[in-house]
Amino acid sequence: MGGNQDDNIVIGVNELDIIAGLLSGLLGAMGFGGGSILIIYLTNIASVEQVAAQGINLLFFIPCALVSVIYNLRKRLIKYKSALPIIAGAIPGLILGTFLVGRIETSLLRKLFGAFLVVSGLLILFRSKRQK
């Protein structure tokens, strides 16, 4: 980050931003939480506030996911029969989630996010073991 001094100046690019962007895109496309890497980077290193970091990650995810979806459509790896009911359920879920984001205290949200990272990390560990 670091582009807050002057609104007319393009945001200062630093090497860490580039690495974080590359890594997040890479891991995200591979299906294991590239988003959490970007949020960890933004909140812990670039000192962006938790909710703002989450917003940045949402935007960041869109072009990355587009690449992945187009690629996987051509490979016929996307299965609509499973995808559509999940999307249908997710819409009320996300409305509830955004409702909470607007009301929850930042420090609590950060802790919840941390807890979610720990649980996800453990799940990924178990999952990769089972794949072997």
Binding site: G3, I11, V13, D17, I18, A20, G21, L22, G25, L26, L27, A29, M30, G31, G33, G35, S36, I37, I40, N44, A52, Q54, G55, I56, N57, L58, L59, I62, P63, C64, A65, S68, V69, Y71, N72, L73, L77, I78, K79, A83, I86, I87, G89, A90, G93, L94, I95, G97, T98, G102, R110, K111, G114, F116, L117, V119, S120, G121, L122, I124
Partner: protein
């Protein structure tokens, strides 16, 4: 897995993805596998599930004033390149070493954020 079960899991996925601005995919992949998809299909389908949710969530964040569009821009081109490489790698290998390293990193970062 039955349709209504997928819808119920969907609620949780949408909720988590909106609350944390991330993480929907981590929940979606194992559920998609349970519904009978292969690892690669599950990973690919999970992205196609999270994409529309993320667009809707981002719009709501925008109206809540939680979207810093300018600050996001710098990450987009690099993320784009990373995603291109990642899609390619996903289809070439099943990288458990990278996955394990990433999982450990997440656990470490998560503990730091809780404390």
């Amino acid at each position: 897995m039955k349709k209504h079960q997928l819808v119920l899991y969907g609620i949780a996925i949408g909720f988590i993805n909106a609350l944390f601005g991330a993480g929907g995919g981590i929940v979606a992949v194992p559920i998609l596998k349970k519904s009978g998809l292969s690892q690669k299909e599950a990973q690919a389908t999970s992205v196609s599930v999270i994409l529309p949710l993320t667009i809707i969530t981002a719009v709501i964040y925008f109206f809540q004033g939680n979207l810093m569009i300018k600050d996001s821009l710098i990450f987009l081109p690099f993320g784009f390149i990373g995603a291109l490489v990642g899609s390619f790698v996903l289809n070439k290998s099943n990288n458990t070493v990278l996955q394990t390293a990433f999982a450990l990193f997440m656990i470490w970062a998560g503990i730091r954020m809780i404390i």
